[in-house]
Amino acid sequence: MRPLALAAFAAWYLRQFLVANVVVAGHVLRPRLAHRPVVVRYELRSRTDGEVASFIALVSLTPGTLVVDRSTGVVTVHAVHARDSAQELADLRELEERMLAAFGRTGRTS
């Protein structure tokens, strides 16, 4: 465990969380709905149960993204708004990379 890396990740996630809240509230309150929902199939880099569970919990906690299906190594994510599916996949990848880095990935396999 690396406390400093974890704290940095928590701060980064908190900021993303608050920004996402404002963005989703903006989409809801816009007079004409203009959001573009996407569904993407995301292949996990997380391997252990703990990593997968943490990742799914973080994605689900963020407003605007929701895990709707999961099987081994793959999750299906629904997002309220994204420019296109590639953009959403890149965002998910960034979240997962940062999370794994904060956990100090040990290379264990489940």
Binding site: V24, H35, L66, V67, V68, H78, V80, S85
Partner: protein, 121 residues
């Protein structure tokens, strides 16, 4: 009005505002998945803010411990509840709103027989 009540009221106001936004989302969003996104999370943060506001307004060791415990529980349970609702919607073949984009391999449950259709597909 003291500083304490003002700070508490601001937190309460923000929380109630988020809950109201969630209610608007519950009415306006086009499909179950969008509604879950807008409601479960925004509402969850709204409740957390309201509880923090109550902490500020009515200090006292018992109240603070109980409310902070409630806040922690809320933050743990919100994603799980959202995940469960999303999976239930997916398994029961709820339709996605028209215009929903997909990535390669992410199939929309198009061919599902019309269980609870919105009339939009």
């Amino acid at each position: 009005m003291t500083l304490q009540t003002v700070a508490g009221d601001v937190l309460l106001g923000l929380g109630v505002l988020l809950v109201v936004v969630a209610a608007v989302g519950l009415v306006r969003m086009p499909d179950v998945y969008n509604r879950t996104n807008a409601v479960a999370k925004a509402g969850g943060l709204g409740l957390v803010l309201v509880l923090l506001g109550v902490v500020v307004l009515s200090p006292g060791p018992t109240a603070v411990v109980v409310l902070l415990l409630a806040v922690a529980l809320q933050l743990f349970t919100v994603p799980i509840a959202g995940l469960e609702i999303g999976q239930a919607a997916r398994v029961s073949g709820a339709p996605f709103a028209p215009g929903t984009g997909t990535s390669p391999g992410a199939d929309l449950p198009d061919g599902e027989p019309g269980r609870g259709h919105d009339g939009d597909r």
